[in-house]
Symmetry: C2
Subunit: 325 residues, 2 copies
């Protein structure tokens, strides 16, 4: 059994070998640029981790892992346009560097190339099953992004609605990556479903932790502006949790304070943080994260392998959920 | 054998039955809107025409025809953003009506739904072959759009380069639609290739005619602004043909006149049109169109069916190339 880092090295080598067509560099150079930005490769490596439960040699799963990473990059390129984000991983986004039209079109061609990769690398008897899983998650991710945009203009998003949004936008892609590793390995469908649930719940815990770190994390370790979500009025897990701990006028006051854009950023962060600390929101958010972590572990337990065999997946989960940045 | 109009009626009924998910209307309503705009459905009907060469009952080909029409609409939604086009078929474009972010994301989900439709409707033994053909043409269309954008900033685009651009951007989708009808019918690969060439050459002739009509067509019949391409300095077939008939200073003068944006639109159209008429560019462009029409007919001739059986395809070609609007 190989660990996350061993699989990551193999994957990185494999990704480096990507040959983009040399004609029409205006279309392909942006992809080659974006794909070499530093990245954690969490999704494709999770696919390999799942595949190796069933087959020792992970080589046949590398192209599908690459397809997942490409798909993830496609969503980032288009999301960055929609969010008007100037930076991604500390470097200029595609639309910032090459213009918006190129970002739209390069993203489009990348999505098609994902399908090309799938068709070229998946044995034909598994193609329909892999594609059905992939199409479902790809649609989910678009729906999640739309919900995220919808929720920007609504203050009354319930915890359930929020969880559903991050499930679609972020979590299911981890679940589907892990599941596709199992499908490609021709695993029993019960294992594939448990792996999907494991990955999706892990993805939810991860996203809640991400929201937590943005608000409460040590800015030096997190590596971004302290309280960025507070300044941008992003209604992440800490906001949802705090709001639901309050009622009546207190609730209204908190919401309007959080959504207030008239204050100086640093002052606003201080006011909101003091309020959140005073209420003990950290504990509430941690419990929320823990619920999904527990569900993930429960699904992992149900998979028909020994603890020893499942160790790399367990370590992967621990690594993801122990991060401070 | 059914004619174009008979097949069109069946297809339109089939397309009307499309059910978009009711949740997240922000994502799906724009698609439902765009898909009901009046359209000629040339590509999907061509697929049905080709399929019925091999099978009388065209029902099994309707989902793939729908996928082709959806793909075409996906490209239009994204192209309209890139071209900043306010109108499509006389009505507001998606980005104009719903905003740019929605247009990007609805387009993305539509492309994924195309693949979903293909996977759900194509027998698994043909899936890989259909998808390989589809992925190739989808990439071609993106490359064609990129070349088109590149050429906006270059005056020295050769006739060969221009032909290659419209081949990728427009013509191959007609070729691939017709070919996919044959693949789905499990036709001999030689017939499938000849049908691809027939459709692609027909698509080239059609696009050259489209360029011709924009410049020389009767504005009342064409239904758009007279000389729109001249006003917008679009380097279509009449520009390429005229430029290549000239040399030295005459050539330079013509290019700078054509690319001049300082004149009043009506005055510029008159100057350029007088110049083009004087040179007899109509004949040159018509000959250019005719070359591709001849190639299309040659490929049609090579297909192993009787003239009678190929009549609907022949009538389809005549209908496409006889249009005045």
């Amino acid at each position: 059994m190989q660990t996350f880092s061993q699989l990551l090295s193999k994957l990185d080598l494999f990704l480096l070998n990507a040959q983009w067509p040399e004609e029409i560099p205006q279309l392909y150079e942006p992809l080659s640029y974006f794909m070499t930005l530093p990245a954690k490769r969490v999704r494709p490596v999770s696919l390999l981790l799942s595949y190796q439960l069933f087959h020792e040699n992970i080589e046949p799963a590398l192209p599908l892992a690459k397809a997942i990473e490409w798909f993830h990059n496609f969503t980032l390129i288009h999301d960055d346009i929609m969010d008007q984000a100037p930076l991604r991983r500390g470097l200029p986004t595609v639309h910032e560097k090459y213009g918006q039209n190129t970002a739209i079109l390069s993203g489009d061609v990348l999505l098609i190339k994902v399908y090309e990769l799938i068709v070229d690398s998946i044995p034909s008897e598994l193609l329909s099953q892999v594609m059905t899983c992939f199409n479902r998650v790809a649609i989910d991710v678009c729906e999640g992004q739309q919900l995220d945009m919808n929720y920007e203009n609504i203050s009354e998003v319930s915890k359930l609605e929020y969880t559903n949004m991050i499930r679609l936008k972020t979590a299911v892609l981890l679940g589907a990556s892990i599941k596709m590793g199992a499908i490609l390995a021709a695993a029993p469908s019960k294992d594939a479903e448990n792996l999907y649930d494991f990955g999706t719940e892990l993805g939810l815990a991860f996203q809640i932790q991400d929201d937590y770190l943005d608000v409460f994390g040590n800015p030096n370790k997190v590596g971004k502006q302290a309280g960025g979500d507070i300044i941008q009025c992003k209604k992440g897990a800490p906001f949802i949790a705090a709001r639901d701990m309050l009622s009546g006028q207190e609730r209204e006051k908190f919401i309007s304070e959080y959504l207030d854009t008239s204050q100086a950023p640093a002052a606003k962060v201080k006011v909101v943080l003091d309020r959140l600390h005073g209420m003990g929101v950290e504990d509430t958010v941690n419990k929320w994260k823990q619920e999904h972590q527990d569900k993930a572990m429960h699904s992992l337990k149900n998979i028909s392998f020994s603890e020893q065999q499942k160790l790399p997946l367990m370590q992967f989960a621990e690594m993801l959920l122990a991060r401070e940045s």
